[in-house]
């Protein structure tokens, strides 16, 4: 019970703090969340249905995890206070990395 209570407490505190995050980062966080959710969904699907085209599963799964990881990288580099050219450059690199990721995944999927 106590744990649940603390968890609630933490959640509210977290919400409060998170509200301060700039919108840009929230978009990025949403994308990360989507990627993780897709990855989990695929994992559940594979467990339930069977991982027969194993390469396709791996490609899909790793693609999602990879997207999440890269987004986190970008988020770390983005300075919430300063959204100038540095961010844009970081984003370009991020886009490049994402393209490579998609290429690798598509090459492997089928």
């Amino acid at each position: 019970m106590a744990t649940l209570h603390t968890a609630k407490q933490v959640a509210t505190a977290f919400q409060r703090e998170y509200a301060k995050t700039p919108a840009k980062l929230k978009v990025l966080d949403a994308f990360s969340g989507l990627a993780i959710a897709t990855a989990l969904l695929q994992f559940v699907y594979a467990v339930l249905i069977g991982s027969f085209p194993f390469n396709a599963f791996l490609a899909g799964f790793f693609c999602c995890i990879g997207a999440f990881v890269l987004s986190v990288c970008l988020r770390m580099q983005v300075d919430p206070e300063d959204m100038s050219g540095k961010t844009e450059r970081a984003f370009t690199e991020y886009a490049l990395a994402m393209c490579v990721l998609f290429l690798a995944a598509l090459n492997y999927v089928g």
């Binding site: 933490v10 505190a13 986190v72 770390m76 690199e93 490049l96």
Partner: protein
Amino acid sequence: MTDASNTPPVSGVATTSTDGSKKSDKRSPGSSAASLTTVLTLIAICLLATAVRLFSVIKYESVIHEFDPYFNYRVTRYLTEEGFTKTWNFFDSFTWYPLGRIVGGTMYPGLIFTAGLIWKVLQALRSPIHIQEICVFMGPLFSGLCALATFFFMREVRGDGAGLASAAFIAIIPSYISRSVAGSYDLESIAIAALVTVFFLYVKTLNTASLRWATALFFGYLYMVASWGGYSFIVNLLPIHCLASIVLGRVSTGLYVAYAPFAILGALAALNIPVIGFNAVLMSEHFASFAVFGILHAAFAIKWIKETLPPRTYEAAKRVVWTVGTAVAGVILVLVTGYVTASPTFGWTGRSLSLLDPTYASKYIPIIASVSEHQPPAWSSYYNDLHLVTLLAPAGLVAAFTPLTDASLFLVLYAVTAVYFSGVMVRLMLVLAPAAACLAGLALSEALSYLFRSVRAEGEAVLAASGSAAEASGAASPGVAPPAPAERSAARKAARAAGRARSAPDAGAWMAPGSSARALPRDVAWVALAGLFYALALYVRHSVYIAGEHYSAPSIVLQTRQRDGSIKVFDDFREAYSWLSHNVPADAKVASWWDYGYQTTAMANRTVIVDNNTWNNTHIATVGRAMALPEKASSEVFRSLDVEYVFVVFGAFIGRVLGVGRGYPSDDINKFLWMVRIGGGVFPDIKERDYLNRGQYRVDSTAPKAMLDSTMYRLSYYRFAETGPLFGMPYGYDRVRQQTIGLPDFKLKHYEEVFTSEHWMVRVYRVLPEPNREVRLPNPNRVKAQRGAKVKPRRPSGDPTSMPSKTRQ
């Protein structure tokens, strides 16, 4: 004499590298002259690295060396003739008859496609160079690139000076030369360059925390994975570094950007290479990477929550995270443990397991243990292969700790693991070489700059002061660029070190490693410098000597000095392969021990039963068994495999030719025990002890019957005793074994000698077909021959009494 011609440029380079540091000392940091010197030095080092590997072409000729390169060469030729897609799907019916081999799916394609690409580019440039030349020069070319990569790697770790010194060391380190001389067209020749490049990119990403470099790291790793099975070293080393960083509290954005995308994208890269495929997620070698990936996220999650939440809530959150995290980690641990223990090898491949447990291979996989380069190295080979580097590397290890940066921590971990692996297998000395060279370069550059500083110091007092100042500054503000103290002489050095080392914000600190900050007296420094240069000169001399004398022999052509000093060339292998290619039907199958499989397919262009890609133990065991069985049984085995020709490599005759030395010790009789062992591992009718005389391996008259009856013995020593006595030794004296053979006179019934090379090194036999008639089968109704009718047509050999001579031919 070869030394003399090469030493000057070499030592020239060595001095230039130090000149470089000196000059950059005098000029302001980052000046164009200093960087120009660096670039020129670097170019010189690359040229040196390439040039030192060309001895084999100069002394011998432009041929492909050894065993594995022949396979690579053959596939490369196929690539140039048939194109990329066909090579990718290349099903080779010339090897492993009748199993065949899916070459495209079982090879590391990096080397072959690189050579093919170079060839394509040269073709496009209208340069009609033959693919063989490209293959021959791949090793030297890539060792130049490896020196470059080492420079950049060490520059990230410690700066230009260390980079140049390391590059100079790696350029001529004998261990690496052994695998990358011209003609040694092997995976390792490019893989070491790729390995160092991956390390450079990793460290670069660590230092810059930039996704650009992370992407470059992906491509570097992709190339590495495509090139060599040694990629599993990387896939375990990087997690170790990551884990160490977390434990040491060095969690930073750089670490995340370097490691996390690598873990995921790297796995995708490995998955895309057919030879690895699902292994990249299913084998235990790769689990560490994912486990550390999880731990890294946990660490960052905690850090992030800590930053986001107010301190009091954080405490609560920490509890929640710990509870949930432990539960999840527990479940995953149970699942993984279940998966891993389900496999007999705990999910490890045999080769990896023999690295973790050095006794594993000799216990369970004789095929791995039988390869000489999989044996643990002798102590002398450390000296031979690393020389001065062995001495300098420990010093470098100490230097790497002062100060410890992310990059130098990586270097330390790399060196430590590489030392362990090299202790398990000779072959992995190769992985140690770059680590040792980097550490040695680090030590050398530290030592040189310290000594030069001492030499040029105006006075001890000033130096001491500057030293303590630097120490103070280093200790006080490790995160800030070095300050500019009044004492210019010291500051220059500090600044020089920091100049190009954008990576190390606290680079100034290393100038003041505690007590050593005190400068030496000038004459002592001079003596030390002289000693150091003498040692360096020795190193260069040793490396060049080793490169020229030891590692340039293509092993397919042998050279020995005769008693009178003249050089005798043994070209028996090529003679025999050429004989096979001209005299044996094109579809004939040729059997030999697997060592010669690649060469036979590439040079004799005939189908072989087993080759150096030892993927099917049973098939190799079948050949081993056939060699161990008596003639009749073995000919049946060979016939069942459609083998028409068998050849053995025999070294005892060479001793006769030369009159000195012990012949050619790596012949098949000396490998025979491995054949028995491997054959016996699969077929229980072969027992090793039957071939040993009370545990001793003998070929003389004390040899057991199974040994004397074995096909290998018969094929090797057939008619050997007829060559006459040898320098006072009895007939049939085998110099290699230093024994007189036990069964000198016998005839072959199921084999027919068809070719023996000039020095008897290769002896080719034809497996006689099944006899046309069945003679003397057991018949209970047979009536014994009557008086006077001594009819014994198939008498045992060497029995001249029984038959009318007319019926014999």
